[in-house]
Symmetry: C2
Subunit: 273 residues, 2 copies
């Protein structure tokens, strides 16, 4: 089944490692501009996975170079290694002759709910989705215009958890909640990449910081499992905030309780917008 997200993030092979994409205006952070980082990561990873004989993304790192906007884009892939167990692929993501991101990734074989030999992580102890508030509704309540991407998915935020414009009550300064596509589509592995950088930064939740200018420099997602049908549980937490940079860690769980991915990003810490 082709989902809406699969269509919106599709790539078409043009030969010699080149893939063409059309960035959809439904995945912008502002009307007509500033493509969401997770969306760009998913588009790039689709091209890179295709170049790696459709292996699954296991680790993808993106460095953001310039903002992207709706319209044509191209991804030039280079397969650096194609081994028995995994492939390594580099990619340049360009739009209008300008490089908007450079990407590096490893592609291997993943399954649903793989055996876990050890795990020093636990899923969030949150009330079920019915006891949560909808993120989309929070914009109306706050009198704030939602970004276009807020209409694409059904995000349920647990009481007290921050997700701008919803304030965090603390002491958990995470952002997150239960994520589903608004139209009921199931999540696939590229949606997991997208979800790792789709929600407002958790640094906004930290007292005395708030909603600052926070452009991502580098985002890395390591993926352990294909998600089963149902919601994804997304939790992103601030870890270290200095005077110049901050680090945010994320975990993504599926509805069967499998850890599907972890993420980390480092971003510039700007002044309040």
């Amino acid at each position: 089944m082709e989902t809406r997200f699969a269509r919106d993030s599709a790539v078409i092979g043009a030969g010699d490692g080149r893939y063409d994409a059309s960035l959809d205006d439904g995945w912008m952070r502002e009307p007509g501009r500033l493509a969401n980082g997770g969306y760009l990561l998913a588009v790039a990873a689709r091209a890179m996975a295709a170049a790696a004989d459709d292996r699954d993304p296991v680790s993808v790192t993106m460095h953001f170079l310039a903002p992207a906007e709706p319209g044509p884009a191209r991804i030039d892939t280079e397969v650096l290694r194609h081994g028995r167990r995994h492939s390594t692929v580099a990619a340049r993501f360009q739009q209008g002759g300008r490089e908007i991101a450079r990407v590096l990734g490893a592609f291997g074989a993943l399954s649903h709910n793989p055996p876990v030999q050890f795990r020093d992580r636990t899923p969030p102890d949150w009330p079920n989705p019915d006891a949560c508030v909808t993120w989309r509704g929070a914009f109306d309540d706050a009198g704030v215009t939602p970004p276009p991407i807020a209409d694409r998915y059904d995000m349920r935020v647990p009481p007290g958890i921050g997700m701008w414009p919803l304030p965090a009550e603390g002491p958990d300064w995470s952002s997150g909640g239960y994520f589903r596509w608004a139209d009921g589509d199931p999540a696939d592995i590229f949606d997991v990449l997208a979800a790792a950088d789709r929600i407002p930064s958790s640094v906004f939740n930290v007292p005395d910081i708030g909603a600052v200018w926070a452009p991502t420099i580098e985002l890395t997602v390591e993926i352990f499992a294909r998600p089963v049908a149902g919601h994804l549980v997304v939790r992103c937490s601030p870890r270290t905030v200095t005077d110049r940079y901050f680090e945010e860690d994320g975990e993504l769980w599926d509805s069967a309780g499998a850890l599907v991915a972890v993420s980390r990003q480092i971003a510039l810490l700007g002044t309040k917008s």
Copy 2:
């Protein structure tokens, strides 16, 4: 002052973004072969930082493609962006015409002990170095030949902490301890990168796993501070181990208690060697 590590990891600009290095046989995991991953990361980052007008490494990701050995190597850098606050640089690390690693990094400005606005990490609560055992001595005690790199540094391991061949007593399955150069040289920021992948994998400490074949696929280090003089505190912990892959997280603190860097790697989980 030029330290031994600075000499051993030095690069010489050859024009057009190319840097030449000579991989030293003191930094191998086995005599004459298998260069340590942290050493390769430091060599690559020196070339990339030089290409970025000597800015400091803030985030560096390396994907490992093939083993490296002592002798000449070259790093071809490409500056993708040179902005006001940071630069983004890609690099190919080659030896004998074969690519051994691909690297992507961001370079900015770091200071000693920067102001911390928020931190959800705490340094290990370990006894001081004098109450620790020496890692080098553990090889003699275990009757195991140490790798060449074990002679290059003075590593003190807290009682009960695992660091192969020292067994972990648990329930903390971390590897780590206090790190200094054996010849008393101070650590610089490239040593921090090296230290992020210098010690035996913490996955070896996990019960029922042990010392397996565990080749790193991708290693990312985010750096927050230049280290002050004195030891580095290095702690690497297993987080998720499935049937195919494992994830290890690291933290590096300086002797003044500043978090200098965090690291994460994803590796293949092989069978016992």
